[in-house]
Symmetry: C2
Subunit: 337 residues, 2 copies
Amino acid sequence: MTATPPPARPGLRDVARLAGVSHQTVSRVFKNHPMVSPKTRDRVLAAAAQLDFRPNAAARALATGRSRTLGVVSFDTALFGPASIIAAIERNARAAEFFTSVASLESPGHGAVAGAVDRFRDQGVDGIIMIPGHVPPDEALRHLPDDLPTVLLGPEAALATVSADHYLAPREAVRYLLGLGHRTVHHLPGPADWWEANERTRGWRDGLAEAGADVPDCAPGDWSARSGYERGRLLAADPGVTAVFAANDQIALGLLWAIHESGRRVPDDVSVIGFDDIPEAAFLTPPLTTVRQDFTALGRHCVELLIRQLTEPGKAAGAPDPVPSRLIIRRSTAPAA
Amino acid sequence: MTATPPPARPGLRDVARLAGVSHQTVSRVFKNHPMVSPKTRDRVLAAAAQLDFRPNAAARALATGRSRTLGVVSFDTALFGPASIIAAIERNARAAEFFTSVASLESPGHGAVAGAVDRFRDQGVDGIIMIPGHVPPDEALRHLPDDLPTVLLGPEAALATVSADHYLAPREAVRYLLGLGHRTVHHLPGPADWWEANERTRGWRDGLAEAGADVPDCAPGDWSARSGYERGRLLAADPGVTAVFAANDQIALGLLWAIHESGRRVPDDVSVIGFDDIPEAAFLTPPLTTVRQDFTALGRHCVELLIRQLTEPGKAAGAPDPVPSRLIIRRSTAPAA
DNA sequence: GCCGGTGGTGATAACGCTAACAATCGGGTG
DNA sequence: CACCCGATTGTTAGCGTTATCACCACCGGC
């Protein structure tokens, strides 16, 4: 019936007292400092376990100046791509014993990016991963604090950068379609202010140009299925259209319905290629030929690059090679009639 | 050319010195403590602005014991539902000046949940939002630390809970289909270990039972389009099947393709209803009749409930009403032939 | 004109940890 | 046997905030 001392969270000193060492030694054990004899270490660990001691992150952050937290700035985090990348980032960060803090921005524009970065600064993150989306990377860059290590998921820039292939694969997709006998390939681009969209468009255009094919006009839009449907209706109504490269799978999906609705058939009358290879792509009506992006690798590379910057500064970590994307052929493409 | 003192991050004391007050007063200003005269406040704010002072979160956390960080435990964060909820949580938390830390679990099982919660404890989060997914909520509950305020996104439980309607709407969907003249409605359930899936199944079953219709067997599966396709082929091959309620839109999407492939038509031969109303649902082939879930409201409620617990403990915040879901009728349903 | 309040402010001590340096303990060496 | 060295452990200061309490005017009422 003696009053239990304080059931409050034990601190370094409590463990130290129980183990009969100084709190500093306990600290060393938890830091994996080499200069601790195995015997002492065991004794400390036993004491810590007995008290269910857990180091206080805030105190550690205060003393060291690092929080072991990574900030991630991203747009439209409910979209499959960003969501997959963020999940991969979180997993890899966790494996490296880092926490992750995500800012989901909705509106484009500097204000939002600058605000998120500011917030992360206040929070004391050790580094930032930017998934710029809307914002042209140059703009995004301007708002990065120079005192915070940063990795940009985007086209190569004057900064540590991770990027996926958004150019080669679309070009290959166009060639494939052309090889199937199509005269040309139409295109449904993504939003003009996303660099990924522009890269894909460039790949499409170059693929066409290299083969000497016509480069048709294309209507601006966004990433949504709605946008694919609306622009798709126009395309579907044009009998000259026999092959279309959509900037992502959602657009392709809307297009598929527009074509179906117009009475034409995919792939018999029109071939369609998407981009991303969302998990649903293989089960659309019909299963979509598309370009697969490796989001997991992308997220992993971001974390690796950032952590490398944190642990070995100075090293101007060159951008690793872009993560390759590849064409997955399914049933929405066929030889021209 | 005098050496600038230290361009290091200014602290409370630097601001205090510049403003000619004590650091404590500066602290008061930044805490919005009422006992500061407007004049002093202005002077302090001016000094702070001049030095670009920003309070140090780690120090504050250490001193107060609260980190203004919320932990979110979720499965399959790349899925549309969880991703949407998490985005909504982040936004609402941000608006309330809280940071958000997400753990994306992959494997089901206690180990993972317990691990994530532990991690959050170490990180010093002020509260946790659990989006249990796989784990039966009872299990999930068992791993919650009783010293950490928690909100569960799930069925009512002995805990602060936010839930969506997964029962009434499916029942209504079934009635609607029956009203269209279908003899019965088949069902493609979600994973048996997700409570949402079970609720939806229960709604379907009760809807059928109440109307005295047959309750067909249904094959177990997961949330994926693949699962919808595979199970859908069986259903499509059975001429007795004229209406199907799929546990989510991905399953419905796979089913749509399976039916199409079998040569039957949607909705002419078979009616299909999904669940979630993912943004693509309106543009599938054909546009999917489905049940819309309000993910945004769900996320908002979680944050509100949790923050209420944090600011006014004691109050055993009763579970708010479930967030309603509602049937959106599109073109994948039609009267029985 | 003295006293109890009360709005405003300052001094001092935590918060739980790490960093830097001092101290101690054995041995091997000259 | 004194001396130096390296391995290990202890001591003392912070890190930048908030909390607590003491302090100082100044006000109104007796």
